[in-house]
């Protein structure tokens, strides 16, 4: 900091040298820079430019997506905390609430798959913890390139290892998720992580300052140079006050390193602080570290904060002020504590072996002030950093898929041997048995996992707010869904169907879909068609969530998912959560008893090969207009599923999605070790009946004695019911007029697809 024109007044931050060039290097536009100068009323300091640039980055400020996200429904009587906090919180009854949110760690997971995925898990766990909730489950929607490519093998196996390494060691079970492969993800995998936590309704914590004089306590790991610029383009060679530094020093790794042991201690320490009501506000430190957490907590309260950076425990004492502010070192939280409770807070942290250091305090006014070596290095209005960043309405041009106008239902030749195609579908990672991935995760810790990976939705029995398992029969079902290929053909219709499918997965277990969270994975938003796909997908999500009464309580936007000039498919991923009054009534996806009737609930099957897995995986073609979803019919179907489950009338229920009825029937048979004999619906080509992905359908099995009651309930609800056949002893799924799928052969294919993704050919 030793420049010759150092300001004499230590209460005014020293202007950055060459601020315009620095601002450009930090990714700020000249308009954004001018706005900062106007806000500060002087030339900003290096620390200030660092703070603004990170907080106004796309990742932190949602400046491109904000105007669109406002259109999403986010309210409802069930929503206790909506978007804006670290995670949404919904009321699930009995005085319990559930916090849940999904986030992405896409780019780091390509650069360094194990650490990238691991820190993604750690980050979302801390978001849930920040709400006062005990994290109780993780789900991981993953997207990779096609199996067999050596890069994909490295990335896929590394990501799974990283998720396991962090999730297993931190003691939070990984209970579900989904995987898909497509060439568009080969250079840009998607690693989304959803975390669920449980909290007493009256125990929710907020990332907000409460009163002047509260002490800001930094809890957790020491602050290092890891991850600086993970959220922006901060690590640039010119971004240093001292031009003589080695060039290498400025090029620090942008991928953070996670320490699940430190994360585990942080969880336990924070939960004890909450239980003893020792903190008045708390915020985790993810992107933009200290800068972000202080600015947000102060701004939320309309107050200021003053922090002495000399008191921040550092891994490297030579760190510059901007580096301390913007470090993304993992496993850190910032708590605000009344002075008379400070000793208790420090004692709790000491007991858990977690560092805790008072670094500042909440102040009157609105200024966010950082000092270093007795001099003020940063003095700017907190709200201008956290909440008053720029927003953009980027230009749009219609997203048009080149083959969306085609008619595969009419012009794609029927297969000669549909059974061979059926077998081929079962080893696509989208349909294949996920066991090779699921086996690498601890899905059992917590003693609450009623249904883990592999079903339509994970089913968790809720522990008490203190984590004690088995205290109630109340539970939640959670599922994630996304389908980039279908969204690429039609972002709005695709997004509607993604929401419907995630909710249908939850409804199949008997739970009532209650709320949603979304991770919007898109390409480069400066390309107008991508922006259009984003905006129309948001509209689709909003319409479906409105119809299904599942408000979106939070989520994440990940832009710039592109390799070279090629964007990924628009890939909105949706997580839906719903409560179950009694987990012993949860409905499995597998056939249970020989002799049970198999019925199709919901819409009868209609042509739907556009965007289907069969058309893509067997015929190598992505084309067509998606059959439109009838959201009213979807709502009726999902309500019926809940009602039938409450009456314990369903032996099994399984959503019809990728691979159509063919894959749905095979999965229920393979999981249940039972066969089936079914007759296709009339007036449809055999391959349409097998492989159509027309929405709003569920394959259910019903005990013969219950069939009349199910028929009556469906009729009363106005939901079509089609008799398909029965569960059989024979190890095959026989389709009248088509042939039989041998389950031994099917199992072999079904069990090989995921292994091939992880291990290569």
């Amino acid at each position: 900091m030793a420049t010759s024109d150092r300001a004499a007044d230590p209460t005014v931050p020293e202007p950055a040298a060459e601020p315009d060039a620095l601002a450009t290097d930090l990714g700020l536009t000249s308009q954004e820079y001018q706005r900062i100068v106007a806000t500060c009323g002087r030339t900003p300091s290096t620390a200030e430019l660092g703070t603004y640039s990170v907080m106004w980055s796309e990742h932190c400020s949602y400046k491109t997506s904000k105007i669109h996200l406002r259109r999403l429904p986010s309210r409802g009587p069930q929503v206790l905390v909506g978007p804006g906090e670290n995670a949404g919180v919904v009321d699930v009854g009995d005085g319990l609430a559930v916090a849940f949110k999904i986030e992405s760690h896409n780019h780091p997971s390509f650069v360094e798959p194990i650490q990238g995925a691991a820190t993604g898990v750690g980050g979302i766990i801390r978001d849930i913890l920040t709400m006062g909730a005990r994290p109780i489950a993780l789900l991981d929607p993953l997207r990779f390139g096609e199996p067999g490519d050596p890069v994909t093998t490295r990335v896929a196996s590394g990501v799974v290892r990283g998720i396991g390494r962090y999730g297993n060691a931190i003691g939070v079970p990984t209970v579900g998720g989904e995987v898909d492969v497509d060439p568009c993800y080969a250079g840009n995998p998607l690693v989304n992580v959803l975390c669920v936590g449980v909290v007493a309704r009256d125990g929710i914590q907020y990332a907000k300052a409460e009163r002047v004089g509260d002490v800001a306590v930094l809890i957790g790991q020491r602050t290092g140079r890891d991850g600086i610029g993970g959220a922006s383009v901060l690590a640039s060679a010119t971004f240093d006050d001292n031009a003589d530094d080695e060039a290498g020093q400025a090029k620090r790794p942008n991928v953070q390193v996670g320490d699940p042991f430190a994360g585990k201690l942080l969880i336990e320490a924070c939960l004890e602080l909450y239980a003893r009501q020792l903190v008045s506000g708390i915020q985790d430190m993810g992107a933009a570290g200290i800068a972000c957490s202080t600015a947000e907590m102060a701004s939320a309260a309309g107050l200021g904060m003053r922090v002495d950076l000399d008191r921040v425990p550092l891994r490297e004492p030579s760190m510059e002020s901007w580096e301390i502010l913007c470090s993304e070192s993992q496993e850190r939280m910032l708590a605000l504590v009344q002075p008379d409770r400070l000793d208790d807070v420090l004692a709790v942290c000491r007991r858990w072996g977690v560092d805790a250091t008072p670094i500042g305090e909440v102040t009157d006014g609105d200024r966010l002030v950082f000092t270093r070596g007795g001099a003020v290095v940063h003095d700017a209005p907190a709200a201008s950093i956290a909440d008053e960043g720029p927003t953009y309405d980027r230009p749009r041009e219609p997203w048009v898929h080149p083959h969306a106008h085609e008619h595969p239902d009419a012009d794609e030749p029927a297969p000669v041997d549909p059974i061979a195609d059926w077998l081929a579908l079962l080893d696509h990672p989208r349909a294949a048995d996920p066991t090779p991935i699921a086996e690498q995760y601890d899905s059992a810790v917590g003693s609450s996992t009623i249904a883990g990976p592999g079903g339509d939705a994970a089913v968790l029995r809720l522990p008490g707010a203190d984590g004690t398992p088995g205290v109630t029969l109340r539970g939640v079902a959670v599922a994630t869904d996304g389908n980039g290929r279908r969204c690429s053909l039609d972002p709005a219709e695709g997004a509607r169907q993604v929401v419907a499918e995630a909710a249908r997965n939850v409804a199949c277990t008997g739970a009532r879909p209650l709320a949603a969270t979304n991770n919007l994975n898109f390409g480069d938003p400066t390309r107008p068609p991508v922006m259009d796909a984003f905006a129309t997908a948001v509209d689709g999500l909003g319409q479906a969530c409105e119809a299904l009464d599942t408000p979106i309580t939070g989520g994440n936007v990940s832009f710039y998912n592109a390799t070279g000039g090629t964007d990924i498919h628009p890939t909105p991923v949706v997580g839906v959560l719903g409560p179950l009054a009694d987990v012993t009534a949860a409905v499995p996806a597998a056939f249970q008893r020989v002799g049970d009737a198999i019925v199709l609930l919901g819409a009868s099957t209609r042509p739907g090969l556009a965007g289907s897995l069969w058309l893509w995986h067997v015929r190598g073609r992505l084309a067509g207009r998606l059959p439109a979803i009838d959201l009213a019919a979807e709502v009726a179907l999902q309500r019926l599923l809940g009602d039938l489950a409450d009456e314990r009338l369903l032996a099994s229920a399984h959503d019809v999605a990728d691979g159509g009825l063919a894959v749905a029937l095979a999965e229920s048979a393979l999981r249940g070790h039972r066969g089936a004999e079914v007759t296709p619906e009339p007036d449809l080509a055999a391959h349409q009946w097998l492989f159509s992905e027309a929405p709003t359908r569920v394959v259910a099995s019903v005990a013969p004695d219950d069939l009349a009651a199910v028929e009556a309930a469906a009729a009363a609800a106005g939901v079509p019911l089609t008799h398909l056949g029965a569960v059989t002893e024979a190890q095959q799924v026989r389709v009248t007029g088509v042939g039989a799928l041998d389950l031994a052969a099917a199992r072999q294919r079904w069990q090989s697809g995921t292994a091939r993704l992880l291990d290569g050919p």
């Binding site: 290892r161 396991g164 390494r165 297993n168 060691a169 931190i170 003691g171 320490d259 699940p260 042991f261 430190a262 585990k264 201690l265 858990w352 072996g353 066991t435 699921a438 086996e439 690498q440 995760y441 601890d442 899905s443 059992a444 810790v445 917590g446 003693s447 996992t449 009623i450 029995r461 522990p463 984590g467 004690t468 398992p469 088995g470 987990v583 012993t584």
Partner: protein, 221 residues
């Protein structure tokens, strides 16, 4: 009469709540014991639960053995008190030399979580109600569960091989060994998780048979 069973909580323990829950289900009065305390508060039996103590960054269990409570556990074991180490707890007891052998990385080099069948080979207080030859289905979940010992046959001859994987050896353990005891038989360790197999809603109840030393003592008459 129900027994008081202490569950040792180290930094990085993960399955301690599961152990408390399971022990209560088999009729014990479970309580947590804190690693930094040097005494066992008069409990009748001790369980060292699963998890990743101290992150398992050195060798699994290698640091936990230095915790103050481990002195008390060793003394309790020497006096014949029943001690059970589950997964990471098994690793801790091996590192503490309360059990023979060691556990190292799975032969697949991958964490593995699945239900396995184990066969009871010898009797001890923790499986008091089971006869040798009984087969149980219990989940495993570990990355370092490959049991190694220079003389597995000698160990078996001494009656210290408690459990073997019945058909699927998931980690490359020598002689399919899934659980062992000390020479006296009061200290036992196993990689499978009996505490995750006590509830029919959560995948079976076979694990209860491996928690016998925590079950209520039979009445005098």
């Amino acid at each position: 009469m129900s027994r008081r069973v202490g569950v040792v909580q180290f930094p990085g323990s993960c399955d301690e709540r599961d152990a408390l829950h399971a022990l209560a289900l088999v009729g014990a009065e479970p309580e947590l014991l804190w690693h930094a305390e040097a005494e066992l508060r008069g409990v009748d039996a001790v369980v060292v639960p699963g998890g990743f103590t101290y992150g398992d960054y050195l060798r699994a269990g290698a640091l936990a053995r230095f915790a103050p409570i481990m002195g008390a556990v060793a003394q309790f074991a020497a006096e014949g008190g029943p001690v059970l180490g589950i997964c990471n707890g098994f690793q801790v007891l091996c590192e503490a030399r309360l059990l023979p052998g060691a556990l190292t990385e799975n032969v697949t080099l991958r964490f593995v979580h699945r239900a396995v069948d184990v066969r009871v080979e010898a009797t001890n207080p923790w499986s008091a109600g089971l006869v040798p030859g009984a087969t149980l289905t219990v989940p495993i979940k570990h990355g370092e569960g490959r049991y190694v010992h220079p003389d597995p046959q000698g160990l078996a001859d001494a009656g210290q091989v408690w459990l073997r994987y019945a058909d699927d050896n998931p980690n490359g353990s020598v002689a399919d060994i899934a659980g062992v005891t000390n020479a006296a038989g009061n200290v036992a360790g196993l990689m499978p998780h009996p505490e995750h197999a006590v509830d029919p809603l959560l995948g079976g109840t076979d694990g209860r048979g491996l928690l016998a030393a925590a079950a209520p003592a039979p009445a005098a008459h």
